[in-house]
């Protein structure tokens, strides 16, 4: 059953402003005329069929992908070719990947403290204390000294979330965080994400976990063929979709 999204305050300050953004891969037009304003405290779920450009869209927000036309402004910083601005944005935007992208040659604790120490210039001891705090928050403090290869997929993804949180990001991007996990492990990762959402973090999640969307999202965006087709509150989106394409998509994923 659809639960209403918890009543969290959404500020009228803009976190991400995307206007008339277009992106091409060579000749292929992957993102077409994207307009999206994300306010601070929003929890947005982006869904759509594979190849619809949803991952590319959120990867543009921290400039893992370059856009060719239009503007993206993240927390007041416009994304251009200016490397300093890009680094500034990346410091403030955390990202969680489908395949975790943990650093296998470092222990869990080192994975978490690397960026705070080298990017934020935080003293090692302070960084380790913060890391342990976040590991406790994702419920695996006892794994701190292990290597990522020794953990299960669900644990690795929780480490990846904690790693992003260690940078104290203002915005979190999730790129299909549960798609590479065994069914038994999806729940433990989603629980961490729900907890994060309820703490008021601005989140953009590409996911097919519709239960998660219903539980925490305040807005669901449906994309197809590089365009935003429809966006609405989760209740309206799931019970009363407007576009034919959305109805077809929902009928295929909701059994």
């Amino acid at each position: 059953m659809a639960q209403p999204a918890p009543n969290l305050t959404i500020s009228d300050e803009v976190a991400v402003q995307i206007s008339s953004m277009n992106k091409w891969y060579g000749e292929f037009h992957v993102l077409r005329d994207i307009n999206l304003t994300v306010y601070k405290g929003e929890r947005i779920v982006i869904c759509g069929p594979s190849g619809s450009g949803k991952s590319t869209l959120i990867r543009c927000i921290n400039r893992l992908e370059e856009h060719q036309k239009g503007d993206i402004v993240v927390d007041g910083v416009p994304l251009t070719n200016d490397l300093k601005k890009i680094d500034e944005v990346r410091r403030e935007v955390g990202m969680v990947f489908q395949h975790f992208n943990l650093f296998p040659h470092l222990t869990v604790l080192e994975n978490l403290t690397l960026a705070p120490i080298w990017v934020r210039k935080m003293p090692k001891k302070e960084a380790e204390e913060a890391a342990m705090k976040y590991l406790t928050r994702v419920k695996i403090p006892e794994q701190a000294l292990k290597y990522p290869g020794q953990l299960s997929g669900g644990q690795q993804q929780r480490v990846a979330i904690a790693r992003s949180l260690c940078m104290n990001p203002k915005i979190m991007l999730f790129d299909e965080p549960t798609s590479a996990l065994d069914p038994e492990m999806i729940k433990e990762v989603l629980e961490v994400m729900v907890d994060l959402a309820q703490s008021g973090m601005t989140m953009l999640c590409v996911t097919h976990e519709m239960g998660f969307a219903k539980q925490v999202a305040n807005r669901v965006i449906f994309m197809d063929q590089g365009q935003i087709i429809e966006q609405n509150s989760p209740n309206e989106f799931f019970t009363n979709p407007k576009s034919e394409r959305t109805k077809l998509f929902l009928s295929q994923i909701l059994h």
């Binding site: 992208n101 296998p104 690397l114 960026a115 080298w118 290597y147 290869g149 940078m167």
Partner: protein, 436 residues
Amino acid sequence: MAKPTDDIAYVRATEAPLLPAPPGMVGIQGWVRGNLFYSPLSSIATIVFGSFFLWLIIGTLQWAVVSAVWTGSDREACLVEGSGACWPFVTAKFAQWIYGFYPIDQRWRVNLFFLLSVAGLIPMLMPQVPYKLWNAAFLVGVLPLVTLVLLTGGNFDFSMLSYVAVLAVVAVCAALTLGWSWLQGEGIELAGLRNWVIVGAVVLAGMLFLDMDFGLVPVETSQWGGLLVTLVVSATGIVASLPLGIVLALGRRSDMPVVKTFSVVFIEVWRGVPLITVLFMASVMLPLFLPPGTSFDKLLRALVGVGLFSAAYMAEVVRGGLQAIPKGQYEGAMALGLSYWQTMGKIILPQALKISIPNIVGNFISLFKDTTLVSIIGLFDLLGIVRAGLKDSIWSAPSVVPTGYFSLALMFWIFCFGMSRYAIYTERRLHTGHKR
């Protein structure tokens, strides 16, 4: 009539017992059966290769130990009919194999060099010993300078002009970097200035050290030889090739066209030329291009040639490692806000170099053996000195030649096998991937 599918409901009521493995699967018996005689073909292979190795080992021991000559002062001792290896020859020549024609009363300097190298290398190779950074600084910073002074005698007599020139280069570099950060609008950082002052001071100290007269008798590099030359050439090649190779490999994958082109051209030119040609060019052709009167030391030219040559190979090995690192590692690092050099230094290179260890050490080993080629340009490395000893008429006996080459092979093998084992040990130590 009941169909067989009628009764499909089943619930396990008791745990199935955990039984020990059947006999013949574990223990020595299991190992022999599982590895040596698990099929008719494997049994035949085991017997054929086993008897071949037995024959080889017995034959070698027969020649090298049982029927070998152990004492004697000249060829007479080794001329006995049916005798094996001629070990007195090795005893007589061994010091020369180690030191070459280094003056006998000065050999303590070579010994001191060996001692210092071992003293620096052993703690470096033991992971549990701390202060790795200082240790490495000693090995690549202090040791080469000390070695240079120790083995050549030092007292290089730099002109005032060369001091001024070197300091000017440092000053220009400092001005360029500081000017660049000033143009970027970051202001002049005092920390940057301090770093350049330290660089200048270190360079100056090094030059003064080389310039100083320690009262050592000068020894020309043409008098060096044997294991000393082999170790100096290969150590220089190894120490120079890894950092240069890493820089070239990163350059080849760079987005900057100029850097990329330079790296590709450098790598392909050096890889496209045989080492012998490089050495000939260094010893014969290079002087033609230099103004008359300037002369570079022959050993030094060989060192530069070997160093650049092996750097080109190393670059390709490192590039192979870099290519094996998944794109996600770069993205993970970039998404955390790490800069290019932080990403490379902390995330990509540690993993890429770890994957490349077998190939890097393979390169080291082949470089170590390739140093024998310097005997072609008249440097008496280990091979050169052994061959020179074989021509000695006092020791002209049929068994002397195989004895000499056997000892030579054994010495090379000990070094190469040591490197190979250490590499395997390192690989295991760094393995964090999927041990559960």
